[in-house]
Amino acid sequence: MDFMVFQYPMITVQACLDGLLLGILFALIAYGMALQWGVMNIINIAQGDLVILGGYIAYFMYLYGIHPAWGVIVSPIIMYFIGVGIYKLVINKVVDRDLFISILATFGISILFMQLMNFAFGADVVLANSGYGTTMLFDNNVTLPNSKIFSAVISIVFAIGLVIYMKKSKLGRAIRATAQNSRAAKILGVDTEKVYAATFGINAALCGVAGALISITFTIHPYMGLPYTIRSFMIVIVAGLGNLPGVAMSGMGLGVFEEFADYILGTEFRIGAVFLLLVLILVYRRFKLSRKREYLK
């Protein structure tokens, strides 16, 4: 254990800012997961792999001399269609089954995607340079890479855009209606099949945005998807479905938690700490639930 992070106020500030910026990005991925979980009752294990695939799109643009920031536009468009394709091929066959089947199916998709990406793009760790430079704060004691600020801003823009879309557009209303009660929506004339496909596509598009941002801020690799799945799963568990402010808050909270865990426990336990937190939260929720049941009895 190392409590250096609390001994120097500048390190504390740095850790908080790093965590917040990271958390906003996590929240975007988690929002996609919450959306399809809520609408289709599917937990998508391949979420992280969709993120990485989106990252590769931005990376290849970078390789061909296009600035990777354009990936934020291109990647979601391509990913939307990939998402709809996955829905038509696999997900529509499991959408009304129980949760276990959908987990199994998306787990399979995850493995398939990992191997395909490895096959197509190679096993090298890659990144896209944005050349955005650095912002120095507090007499150069706190450094914020502009790429991280950029990714946080873009995440917020996309999240707000999506909220407005869900509220105002016809499809958005249909998605919300389906989430509330799919049978009733169907009776009232909503083409739920189309809604499901669009929801899965939107989720994949959000993953595409996040992936492009990750290739600019961090590194990508065909096998690096799972940590993003776990994180978004955890954010959704904490926030609950259909609770967007909750997703944003718990995303940022997780980001800050991870940064502090990194300083205090060491970088090697960073992901471990996330897993531990997940277990604790699940146990706590179960405990709360069983108390409620007892009360009902």
Partner: protein, 412 residues
Amino acid sequence: MKITKIILSFISAVVILFSTSVTSFAKVVGDKIVLGAAISLTGKYSSNGVHTQNGYNMAVDRINSMGGVKVGGKTYKFEIIYYDDESNPKRAAQLAERLISQDGVEFMLGPYSSGLTKAIAPVTEKYGVPMVEANGASRSLFTKGYKYLFAVLAPANLYLDVAIDLAVEKNNGKPVTVAMAFEQDAFSQDVRLGVLDAIKRTGSKKVIDDKLPKELNDMAATLVKVKQMKPDVLVVSGHTKGALTAIRQIAEMKVDVPMLAMTHCDAAKLSKQHGKNSQYALCASQWHKTLTYKDNFFKDGMKYAADFEKEFGYDPPYQSAESSAALLVFKDAFERANSFDQKKVRDALAATNMQTFYGNIKFAEGGQNVDKPMVLFQVMCDGSGKCENKVVAPTKWASAKLIHPIPKWSER
């Protein structure tokens, strides 16, 4: 209808049976010496697996076209049976079993990475099959008393200890402060042990000792600590992703440190793809094309690099060079043993003392090569932003002078 179905299923059953049944190769068929190798052609090591395979193939072609291997007055040619181990140690061990007990291979070449070599070594040892490996550097491979394992490369603990010595030398012989960040795999931890030895030997002090996770993509916390503690040397080893993450974040966070020493710089293509961000990084390497070792097959490093580029279209990383060297060692041993008896070949391998384009090769008791020092190169860029790796240590092979301390970011 029914009959065609029955016939079809019968034929497929026969085909399946044949494809899985034993296709027995003897060690030496006609004028061929058959070697076996499990290589990572898919999975997380696939890029380096391919470098390894290219290195092997290049040497096989070269040796065969230049007269092959002469044993007992007869000329033989090398041939390699490859299997894909999917970067999976369990699979690698199974394939080694298969190569030896089904395919009848009596001599093996190593896989890629320390982890997979560790999985295969007990199998080759059990059957008494001599294995020359070129990509397993972990120290633990050489302390188990294996008799049939020979590695043409220097062990992992020698990768970066030179950097600490160099820093002390630049500090007028006075001890230095060292910050370390290492991944937790066998290889990186061995590199760490080597650095710790050097710290102890020089009376230096470690101020940060961070462990990096397997799924690393953010080491900001370590770098913030480095900024606070201001060590003389920062040492990072975590395969390609460690090198890439460190270079990106050091540049983004403007971390000033007088010396930055790393591993896997050429695998991460630092000088080519990350140019100025990677400038001044010191990198440990088993081999560099400008080294002046010579042999009769590839002449020297520069010639090897040119030939390799012509054949495969890219500059050879050291993983390819050391793999090619493994074949040269086998050829030399077969000819000295003048026999295909495994024991005799093993003894000939143990007595190896030769120079190849890749370096001198002489095996210690444990099987590691003790006659080839590591080299350190530094990424140096010219005014136009073109960057190159230049050897700076040991001084015998240095093609450029070490730039020390690294200029501050504010002055670049």
